[in-house]
């Protein structure tokens, strides 16, 4: 099975000014009844909303890369088994019969989730954080000698080991001040 990865970052400062999840109908369109309950009863509902949102988005990226289908159905990606600590969280996200595993980092400025198809693949993911500027590919190359971040013909990002041509599955997300790249340390193409 080919490895696929997903990530999603939200700049909480920008999210406050450009999104209002409290508007009438918004939660019903994006969350299940149980997720709505989790948000509305949380100590920090805003953090809980964006936590669940980035979990769904990162899992959607994995789903999209498996099925090749573009579908915008956030309430069809269901977060469960949420284990929430102060600065991190993990959960599973299901879409029909498919299950994804997600980890999230939580800070006052940023919420960042990564997703994979198995807990082991999730553990193997490495993430880099950069300022959200157009030269992020060069910055990534400088930070990781021997590797470059490229785009496949499909438009999906991939990390190439320069000396061997080995390709690693990657995902890029950017929002507001932040840009994050995650990749699988294991081989995308074997033999």
């Amino acid at each position: 099975m080919q490895k696929v990865v997903g990530n999603d970052v939200v700049d909480l400062q920008l999210a406050r000014s450009e999104s209002n999840w409290q508007r009438s109908g918004y939660l019903q369109k994006t969350c299940t009844t149980e997720e709505q309950r989790m948000i509305l009863t949380a100590n920090e509902p805003n953090i809980m909303f964006w936590l669940l949102w980035t979990m769904k988005e990162s899992a959607y990226k994995v789903l999209n890369r498996i099925t090749g289908k573009r579908e915008y159905n956030p309430s069809g990606l269901v977060c469960s088994r949420l284990d929430l600590k102060e600065t991190e969280a993990n959960a599973t996200v299901t879409s029909n019969t498919l299950v994804f595993f997600v980890n999230t980092e939580i800070s006052e400025q940023r919420i960042y989730s990564i997703a994979a198809q198995t807990p082991l693949e999730l553990e193997e993911l490495t993430s880099y954080h950069f300022p959200n500027t157009p030269d992020y590919m060069q910055k990534f190359a400088l930070a990781t000698p021997g590797f470059s971040l490229e785009k496949e013909i499909s438009g999906l990002p991939v990390i190439v080991e320069l000396h061997t041509g080995r390709k690693l599955a990657a995902s890029v997300s950017h929002h507001g001040r932040y840009l994050a790249i995650t990749y699988s340390g294991s081989l995308l193409l074997t033999d």
Binding site: A15, E18, N20, Y26, K29, E57, R70, N73
Partner: protein, 81 residues
């Protein structure tokens, strides 16, 4: 209908040229670069503007101007308008 859609989309995009040239094939994400959280706002604004309810299956497909127009027309027809 495309005039009303353009007015709804305007606050959520910074792609002035794509907005100016808005057509049936315009893609909300690829062309207008509307972020996914704001796509929910577009759906809610369309519901309010046209007095319809967009179910989740329809929302899942609402990624282009053409798809949005078809969904609005279908929902309006269903409600006998």
């Amino acid at each position: 209908m495309i005039v009303e859609l353009k007015a709804i989309l305007t606050p959520y995009t910074e792609q002035a040229e794509a907005l100016e040239n808005l057509g049936e094939e315009t893609d909300f994400i690829k062309d207008l670069q509307i972020n996914s959280a704001n796509l929910v706002d577009v759906v809610l604004d369309v519901e309010e503007k046209f007095g319809i309810e967009i179910d989740n299956d329809s929302m899942a497909k609402m990624l282009t101007v053409k798809a949005a127009m078809e969904i609005v027309e279908t929902k309006l027809a269903e409600s006998g308008r």
